[in-house]
Structures are given as C-alpha cells and as structure tokens.
Subunit: 230 residues, 2 copies
C-alpha cells in the first residue's frame, strides 16, 4: 500500500519547499517506502483536518493520519521495523530528539534570508496568508525583514561552526551513512535552495559538502527537486 | 587497577573547574571505574608530556596515556565494554560526536561571563599564563572582555533554546537516563559553577533543572564539588 504525504508546494506545484516535509521525504526514502506526495498549500487547512494539524507534513497510512515531522519519523520507525532503521537503535532514537530541536532552530535562523523569496513563490491563494502570518510573527514587513540579509550572512555562517566541527570528523551526523539526524538538519538547507536563489552556504564549506552528499542520496531524490543551483 | 586523571585545579587544589575534565569525571562514574584525580595547573605541561598533549583531561591507564575528552570517552567505551555503555550503541556513538561539538561551542559562549572569575581563582603560578594566553585569544583585557556580561546574559539564555526544546520532552539528552551526550554538555555548566558565582541559568529554566539532575547523579558527584550555589 502506498503511503500519502501532504507536501507544501508553491505556485509551481512541483516546487516543494517545506523544511519539515523534506525531513520526511528523506526518511521515507531511507525506509524504502513507496510514497505518493500530494501538493498542498498553506491555506488548505481543511484538506489535512483529519490529522488534527494545520500544517504539513501530514502522512496518511491507510486510515491513520499522522502529523508533525518528529511524530511521523517515530511512527515510521515503529510501524516499519523491517525497513532500515531511521535512528540506529533505542539510545540513538533518544539522542536524535535533539537534532530535531537543532533543526527547528535552523528554521528560525535561515528564515531572515529567504522570507521574501518564499512570498514570491507561494501559490496566489497563499500570498496574503503567508505575508500576514509571517509579518505578525517577525514584527515587520517581509521586505524590511530581509533588507539586511547580506550583512547577516557572515554571522549565520559562523553560527554553523558546531556542524562544521562534526563534519570534519565524519561524513554524516549518523556516521558513514546518514540517519534521521541528518535528514532533520538537511531539511532546512533544502528548504532554502528550493525556494531561494540566495547562496546561504559558501563553496568548500564542510556543511555545504555534507548537504551535497545528501542531495545525492536515494538516487538524487533531493537534487532532482525543483530548486536553485546554490 | 585505579585509573588516574589529570584534572585542572585552581589555587584551591580542590577546586576542579575544567569543562573537559568534568565530561570525563562523569563518564568515569558512568562506567563505574575507580579513579584517582591528580590536581594539575595550566603551566604544568611537563607533567602530562607523555600524553603528547598540553591540556587536560589526560587519563593514565597502566602504561597508556590518553588525552582529549572525546578520545578518552571512546577509549573508555572500547577498553571497558562490560561497563555500562557511555553512548548506547554504535549509531548512538556516532550521533554523540556532534554533542561534543556543541559542548565545545558552549565553552566559547560561556567564557565571556566567567573569564575574569577564572583568573581570580587560578593558582598563583598560572595567573600570568592564563591572562596572557586568553587575552591574546579574545583580543582585549579580561576586564574589558567581561565588562558587559550582564548585557549579554539574555542573549546567552536565548541561545540555549534548542536545549530547552529537547529537555521539555525528555529528562536527559540520552533519554530517561544520562549518556555521554549529557556529560559533554553538562561539563560547561559545571565549569561555570565551579569557578564563578555568576548566575548563568535562570531558576525554573529546563536547562537548569537538567543541570541539577546531573548534579545529583552518581551520589551527587558533581554537586559535592567545590563550587558556587548558582
């Protein structure tokens, strides 16, 4: 039976740009699970109401609706124990929880660079929703919010120092092969490149080299997505 | 056979304040290994020369000298496989590497709050070394470096948000019980309270509650240390 995933899309239904959905797209590929993605827009709350959530990812497995990326990852691990493990064991699963927190924090630190690029690429019916909800959140217009992004780039790149330290010693956070910890962190960098031509990462940065390795995983699943070459 | 650990001490030989040594003190307790700590001062490079390192922790196990906290943790896990696992398995060990990176980054973010307090508590023979080496590193006098620490406190506490997110869902980064991931992060908070009366953490903060749980581990090993009640 094919699983279904509600997946945030832009005006172009093939532009899939949710950082949280990308975590799950790669988790599903890791689990070798067949998946049908359903393009979903911010304002289509009714479509995913059976999940109890107003945001994606939402996974539908038979009559089960599951929302929230961390909850979905745990569901997949438990429901498909014969597929490759997403976490690498019981202790590893608990240690992975913090990677999800770190990934969520990255959403906040990357948003000031790409907020206006998102607005320009969401579906027409989502534009007002996105602008109003995000401007309320950040307390200014999106134009003002991103105006000084060039000045903030060096600080953002410096903030990735701990990632860099680890990636100088091993190719993935999970070791020689990626685990959900990698997919959680990767989701944000894939979000950025799917929605914005802004070059967040510097050439040669170990973080970019790691990101590029993940682009190549699963027969280039993430690299083949509609995205910018940054 | 009792292991020996060279452990950074202040003017008071019982004041043990290295963040990296505290990681290993708790790792040794987790492994249920008997340990003799040897008070060591910054300038006693000759004492630990057989390790090839100029800094502690340095562990001596028979005729083996091992330096660097991450290297020591891995050594203990491999050399004492019948003791409780520090990592929780092979994947968990690789996932723990990044906790060590996050812990190292915390050294940098905490140092501006306690740098002068350290100077005031190091052994007399270490004072010039500490001042000169650290002032070269930060590019100003230690007095100037800490002068605005009150203004930086809110930002520091905000930077702990990802830790807080995780600790609202589970008592330790390792899950229901602490693992090396916890000890790595804890070392920095123990460093601060062993050397400085400055209240880094707010009452009620989940990060402080987690720190306090670690103070109680192993029959209060860390709580019994010479430290300030902050």
């Amino acid at each position: 039976m094919t699983l279904r995933l509600y997946d945030l899309a832009g005006a172009d239904p093939n532009r899939r740009f949710s950082p949280y959905c990308w975590r799950i797209r790669l988790a599903l590929a890791h689990k070798r699970l067949a998946i049908e993605t359903i393009p979903w827009r911010f304002t289509e709350k009714a479509e995913i109401a059976p999940s109890g959530s107003k945001t994606v990812p939402v996974l539908v497995d038979g009559d089960r609706w599951i929302a929230d990326s961390w909850t979905i990852a745990n569901y997949l691990e438990d429901a498909y124990p014969d597929s490759p493990s997403l976490f690498g064991g019981a202790a590893a699963r608990r240690l992975t929880r913090h990677y999800s927190s770190l990934a969520d924090a990255l959403v906040t630190t990357i948003f000031p660079f790409i907020a206006l690029d998102i607005l320009q690429r969401v579906a027409d019916k989502d534009r007002d929703y996105f602008r109003v909800s995000r401007e309320q959140r950040v307390g200014k217009t999106l134009e003002a919010f991103v105006a000084n992004r060039d000045a903030g780039l060096a600080g953002f790149r410096a903030s990735l120092a701990p990632l860099r330290t680890t990636l100088k010693t091993q190719p993935f956070f999970g070791g020689d092969e990626p685990l959900y910890a990698d997919y959680a962190l990767f989701g944000q960098f894939q979000w950025a490149r799917c929605i914005s031509p802004f070059a967040l990462l510097e050439e040669g940065d170990p973080v970019k080299l790691w990101r590029d390795r993940l682009l190549d995983c699963f027969d280039g699943l993430a690299r083949k997505a509609v995205a910018y070459d940054v």
